[in-house]
Symmetry: C2
Subunit: 259 residues, 2 copies
DNA sequence: TATTAAGTATGGGTG
DNA sequence: CACCCATGCTTAATA
């Protein structure tokens, strides 16, 4: 059985001939599908290192982005691989089904020779999700609004936004000395862009309120962002997202009790 | 279609119901097979870090050693995973097919929930091969015997073995000063064991020939092995296996020409 | 078993 | 494109 059908599976072949497997691999490559093969193969790699893997049964995964993974039945790591961006082609040669994955810079070549394919599956994956941090920025904002002491003792939120600069997830506060403080929240690593955004923000406000402070609130910050932050006279406060998550949960629980 | 048949494939299901998929996963786990699933799933991880991966199509690989890999259609790295040795179980719960992989020390939990399985394949892989270096130690020995200058200028092999110490793949030489030199060959990284073996060798010979030298010949050496080597007064000579390979090829070519 | 170093590390931020 | 750095790094070597 082959070709588009139910679900997103294009090919699902059991013990195909090498010719059938070759056709399916070719079609998977032109359609840029995810391809998995289980078969008896031999692998040779030359590039940053060199290796030969003698005949044995393995799982091969070829991804639409040109990644190739060769897995044995043990271990987290593939025994051989090729990174994303590799150019992949296939041929029938000397009685083998051959799949080559080539990369330039660094020059690397991976050659897989099959004498037998036990199973072949290809599919189109629909997956728009990215790995998510524990909290959305909106949730982090809620936690900080309810627990400003996480950033600094004596901090009091005074307004959620500031006229002209809406659209950013920021919080305005006054510190224990009564000075204005702008918080910029990030639910993942804060980079230089975050720092310069906060800087533009803060320097605009300085014209009105010269003693304004700016603090990046994030689980972590890149080294260069931290350096820029210091030269611009801004501040960084690390927050533990797991801690914030549990505070958010407590807050939700107490709200539902009140209902 | 399910259960043992041709080749080494046990299950090969296309768009199974969650019940069918669950049964196949259970059987794959008890039989310790390699299992691949393509399906619509949601993933949550808690352990050294925390993450949530929202609904999307992915490839899941579960290995006989307890490794779990969750791959999206891009990238070399799995988006989520569990290392070898994890304890894996499956259940049907709240309309989902749930697969959990748990590890103690460090405590980690990976939970995969499927609403739809497009394809499921399980197989027994027969694979005794390990990844091989470019040269066997016997081939490396041949290359060094024919090209002793690769180790040191003026080196001359004098005997392949030394009475009492046979059984090791080593080479005896005299250097340009006529002193005895013992070579210990390794076709991969030389470790402390290799160094101490060479040391035992050399110190025995020292009783007869006090000026004997010992050299490890290998593509590389571990840091600790190098430290030990220096304290024991031994030497290390790095060889390029690719270069050795081409020299071996040349040698074979010239031999076949003579025939 | 814990610690340290190596890897075809990979992947992201930055200049 | 190059470099530097973090990673749920993983894995092997070593104390």
């Amino acid at each position: 059985m082959t070709h588009s059908l139910e679900g997103y599976i294009y090919h699902n072949l059991l013990n195909p001939s090498l010719e059938e497997a070759h056709d399916a691999v070719k079609e998977s490559l032109t359609r840029t599908l995810l391809l998995t093969l289980i078969g008896l193969c031999q692998v040779s790699y030359q590039g940053r290192a060199s290796s030969e893997l003698d005949w044995g049964d393995r799982l091969i995964v070829i991804k639409p982005d040109g990644s190739v993974l060769i897995h044995q039945s043990q271990g987290y790591e593939p025994v051989n691989w090729q990174p994303p961006g590799s150019i992949i082609n296939t041929q029938l040669s000397e009685g083998y089904l051959v799949i080559k994955a080539i990369r330039r810079k660094p020059a690397e070549e991976l050659i897989i020779r099959f004498t037998k394919v036990y199973a072949l599956t290809s599919a189109k994956l629909f997956d728009t999700s990215k790995i998510e941090m524990h909290l959305t920025e909106e949730e982090l904002r809620q936690v900080i609004l309810e627990n400003p002491h996480l950033v600094e003792e004596g901090l009091r939120p005074v307004a959620k936004e500031w006229g002209d600069f809406s659209g950013f997830i920021d919080i305005f506060c006054r510190d224990k000395n009564g000075n204005l403080v702008v918080l910029e929240l990030k639910n993942e690593v804060a980079d230089q862009q975050a720092v310069s955004q906060l800087y533009r923000y803060v320097s605009s406000i300085k014209k009105v309120s010269p003693l304004v402070r700016g603090i990046i609130v994030a689980p972590r910050i890149t080294k260069e962002a931290r350096r820029l932050l210091m030269t611009l006279g801004l501040e960084f406060k690390q927050v533990n997202l797991s801690k914030c998550r549990s505070l958010l949960q407590k807050s939700k629980d107490s709200q539902s009790k009140l209902l």
